[in-house]
Symmetry: C2
Subunit: 317 residues, 2 copies
């Protein structure tokens, strides 16, 4: 069993790699090799892993990678939402052309691997019903969401034609994200938990009644692994599906922080309204009907308390 992970240096890529090394098997076979792809070289402490520096949007690069004959491809590489909005051409090049080149290389390779594509709930844009039904139309309000949607459409058609065996999973906002805050408008969802747990101040730019679905990094990795192992015949041709999450308000996130870490942690959060962030977040989904994904065995965290606990257990890092 050979596994290829694009975006291997990213947060999810690293956590997926660690989980694959820990469990040692995938789809009933031992994991003999993991090929980690990212724009630049990076260090890994495992003989099972090989790092490949590659820009998927450049001609020939995806063909070089597919010559490794992976049995499973996890396509996680992407320019994130804020960057794709700030630099339209870069987002199109990486998120659309990179994905298309990868799918084309898989199509022309001699094997037919499972392709797991990390899509996003950013494919949806307000106004929404509550909850958002399983068959609601995607109307993204960002270029990132548009590019992810196009990737979904390509994945479904490449799978329908038998070019590969694909599944697209729409991840909710992943929190608590480890590491430093980033430029994403969603950064505060993690920041208001992560910073107080580390004894640092955090700013809250939106109202406490903002509701949003969350998945821990641990749950997100679980989705990816389950997608790699699922019998795709069960998808009945509808290859892209919204993952379950814990839908909570910001106020409920903060209450969970208080239960897990005490009132001192909560005291470190300062309300600092930012109309720009609030405006962006107002266009985001709040709650999904994810009965379809749950029936297929995708399991979310049980509560936001559990999401905070997972962050603490995984080393706060």
């Amino acid at each position: 069993m050979r596994v290829l992970i694009t975006g291997g240096a990213g947060m999810l890529g690293r956590k997926l790699t660690r989980r694959l090394l820990e469990r040692g098997h995938l789809r009933g076979e031992p994991v003999d090799a993991i090929d980690l792809v990212d724009l630049v070289e990076f260090g890994v402490e495992s003989d099972t892993c090989t790092v490949h520096a590659a820009d998927l949007s450049q001609p020939g690069e995806t063909e070089r990678l597919m010559a490794l004959d992976p049995d499973v491809v996890f396509h996680l590489a992407a320019v994130v939402s804020a960057e794709a909005e700030a630099d339209f051409d870069k987002g199109m090049k990486v998120n659309l052309d990179g994905t298309r080149r990868l799918f084309e290389a898989v199509r022309h390779s001699p094997i037919t691997p499972r392709v797991v594509y990390a899509s996003s709930i950013a494919v949806f844009g307000a106004p929404f019903p509550d909850p958002i039904p399983n068959d609601f139309h995607p109307t993204p309000l960002t270029s990132y969401g548009t590019q992810k949607l196009i990737g979904e459409a390509l994945l479904a058609d490449y799978s329908r034609r038998g070019f590969f065996d694909g599944i697209g999973i729409r991840l909710p906002t992943v929190s608590v994200r480890p590491g430093a805050p980033n430029a994403a408008a969603s950064s505060f969802f993690s920041g208001i938990i992560r910073e107080p747990l580390a004894g640092q101040r955090a700013e809250l730019p939106v109202s406490r009644d903002v509701r949003h679905p969350h998945a821990s990094p641990r749950a997100a990795v679980g989705f990816l692994l389950h997608a790699a192992e699922l019998d795709t015949a069960l998808l009945e041709g509808r290859r892209n599906l919204t993952m379950p999450g814990v839908s909570v308000t910001v106020g409920e996130q903060i209450e969970a922080l208080g239960r897990v870490a005490g009132p001192d942690a909560v005291e470190l959060i300062t309300e600092s309204p930012d109309p720009v962030v609030a405006g962006i977040v107002a266009g985001w989904p709040q709650r999904f009907d994810t009965a379809r994904a749950e029936a297929l065995g995708f399991a979310a965290d049980a509560t936001y308390d559990e999401i905070i606990q997972a962050h603490i257990e995984d080393g706060l890092a």
Copy 2:
């Protein structure tokens, strides 16, 4: 007012051109020039029209066309469903790359034209509720439908970013199509009316209870013109919409033929079941809730009888 029409040599392109020449104005201004684009040169009998041979998927071609400074762009050019299914690479090149190159050229042109994009109900794929709601998710079952869906997603994002002012209209099956039968699985929908009206035999490959939405070429041209003139602020960011149609069964089509042309015409139809065609058509939409498009002023034919009458009035040709 300068108008550019891609796919100008096609059936809809020709009928749209004729209608523009007849009415002489668009968006409250006289139509001074119509640029007709298609893969090869073709004849037009009007000083207002200029024909341009261009392959939109080739570098530089769309920039050359946008240098004409059109105020309105009708993007009708496409490889049809059957051909895009038979030749995947050609469909991707023309329907996806050609559309993207056109949109990019419009983005980089000094003006911000209205772009009217001919999409298709092929963006939808079974299973469906009946009727299909306005916010139902597109899950195409053909590469053509996938490519049209990607064009819709690009159009919405390019419009959101202000690169141009776009609207995508999903056309139902256009019948009665003039001219010869083609390779499309939908060809019989027109053939069972067109051929008997011309005194010729026609084969019916599906059951009479097959239901499908139809628009006459006249109604389809009306949709395109209305889309060019609509205040797109009314779309509230949801730039792609399903056009109304006359939803009838094949049996009801044949009854309408009998009312308009008499029993001798009906006698010319021979049942000739084709499981392949029947299988393809089984995945197609039957009936849409098009209240949104109707509220925006898009008007379908009143009845299938009227569709047949329009075909006769327009010269059976």
